[in-house]
């Protein structure tokens, strides 16, 4: 069972990392001043949010199952046969695409949530591009961390779709053993318990990150965190 849990964790970590990277790229593109970038990123976000992950995985699996194994392709998936590595990579990319649009929207909302005044202020401070990105990134992270954690829990659950193809992961183990032994309750309960623990660990990790960001001063002090009333009238 440990191999299956490890395989699920590898699949989740690699596809989740890819989704975060692509999500950041699309979020940056969607607030870019250049129209082609904005259009491309907007279309990519709509597309990846609009198509179900199950269909993306099915499509990727059907395409890749006809591809013969390539020697140059690494095989980091525990328990998956070397011959099925292309399918595992294709499923991984499909899983990442399934979460990319959602993460991009989370990141974009957190960035624009800083407010026009704050973004302009950071521009006139005379900071270099790198320092400005780090500063705004840390401030936006405080808003983005909780929904990102929730999305990555959902992403963990989506890794179960890999069981539709010859890729080793936890749900495949539950399904195969339950079908082979007819002891559905035992395997479903054990599998559900592992998923609940893994989901809890992701939630806890993001909660710690949230607290760390709060303590390290990425958030403004509590007193100034009151909602601001935008009014047109002078006080």
């Amino acid at each position: 069972m440990l191999v299956y849990v490890a395989a699920t964790c590898v699949l989740w970590a690699l596809s989740g990392g890819l989704a975060i990277g692509a999500g950041l790229g699309l979020a940056a593109g969607s607030v870019s001043p250049r129209l082609p970038w904005r259009t491309f990123s907007g279309a990519a976000i709509t597309l990846t949010r609009g198509v179900p992950t199950s269909l993306l995985v099915v499509t990727a699996g059907i395409i890749s199952i006809r591809i013969p194994p390539q020697r140059w392709l690494p095989d980091p998936f525990p328990g998956t046969a070397t011959g099925s590595a292309p399918v595992a990579w294709a499923v991984l990319i499909a899983l990442a695409l399934g979460s990319t649009g959602h993460l991009a929207v989370i990141f974009r909302t957190a960035y624009t949530g800083l407010g026009r005044a704050r973004l302009d202020q950071s521009a006139v401070l005379g900071l270099g591009a790198r320092r400005r990105i780090v500063m705004l990134g840390r401030e936006a992270a405080a808003t983005a961390v909780p929904p990102t954690g929730a999305r990555l829990v959902h992403h963990l659950h989506n890794t179960a779709f890999a069981a539709l193809f010859p890729v080793t992961e936890l749900f495949g183990w539950i399904e195969n053993n339950a079908n082979a032994t007819f002891d559905v309750v035992r395997y479903a309960t054990a599998g559900a318990a592992v998923y609940v623990v893994l989901s809890g660990l992701i939630w806890a990790a993001f909660r710690v990150l949230e607290l760390w960001l709060d303590r390290s001063g990425a958030l403004p002090p509590a007193r100034s965190r009151r909602p601001v009333l935008a009014t047109g009238a002078p006080r």
Partner: protein, 216 residues
């Protein structure tokens, strides 16, 4: 091909996108009603509902695919009903928690206003608290409903003939060159339905948002 995707394979009608939308809408609507009841119980009796909250928290950690599989194996219900029940439970544990959070954040000023107007507890809940909760949580609920519509694809493990199952069945039968077209078409149908849902929710949000701005 397109007819099968819209209304299902000849042996499994209604299916395709019609079944997908029917299951998503019915499970989403019932989950909203049950979620409002759950939120009311949790806010009204927080200590008594600890067990219920813990059960839903555990259920949120279980993948929908596993829930569908377990229900299909452990019950003798028709598969379509099994799929519907799995989606209902999945939706309830997310919607219920969202509504509980927003209902708990109900502003004190509105409660005081209800007292001044002489409202009883039930009238205050029906006329102020519930509408306020639904209006403020609409964005979060919209995100969940989009996800719910996409997650109907999970029911493909039951083979009940919703859109992903139809696309899989047609693409497995199709020759080289045709299966790509089938999967792309299925993707476009999902995309179209989700764009319609997003636009409808945006309109609803705009309609429900307060028009008058407070001027100090």
């Amino acid at each position: 091909m397109i007819v099968d995707m819209l209304i299902g394979l000849p042996a499994q009608r209604p299916g395709g996108i019609v079944l997908t939308v029917l299951i998503a809408v019915s499970s989403g609507a019932i989950a909203l009603v049950l979620g409002a009841v759950y939120a009311t119980v949790c806010v009204g009796a927080p200590r008594l509902s600890v067990g219920l909250q813990a059960a839903l928290a555990v259920l949120r950690g279980v993948p929908l695919l596993l829930l569908v599989f377990a229900l299909a194996q452990l019950t003798t219900m028709p598969l379509t009903l099994t799929g519907f029940l799995a989606l209902l439970l999945f939706s309830l544990c997310h919607v219920g928690e969202t509504l509980r959070g927003f209902m708990a954040a109900y502003p004190r000023a509105l409660r005081d206003q209800a007292l001044i107007l002489g409202y009883g507890r039930i009238r205050e809940w029906a006329c102020l608290r519930l509408p306020w909760t639904l209006r403020t949580s609409l964005d979060a609920l919209a995100t969940h409903w989009i996800s719910l519509l996409k997650d109907t694809g999970t029911l493909t493990v039951l083979g009940i003939g919703e859109l992903t199952t139809v696309a899989r069945a047609l693409s497995e039968r199709a020759g080289v060159g045709d299966w790509e077209l089938i999967l792309v078409t299925a993707g476009l149908i999902y995309l179209l339905v989700i764009i319609i849902l997003i636009q409808s929710l945006r309109l609803l949000n705009r309609k429900l948002s307060p028009r008058d701005t407070m001027v100090i």
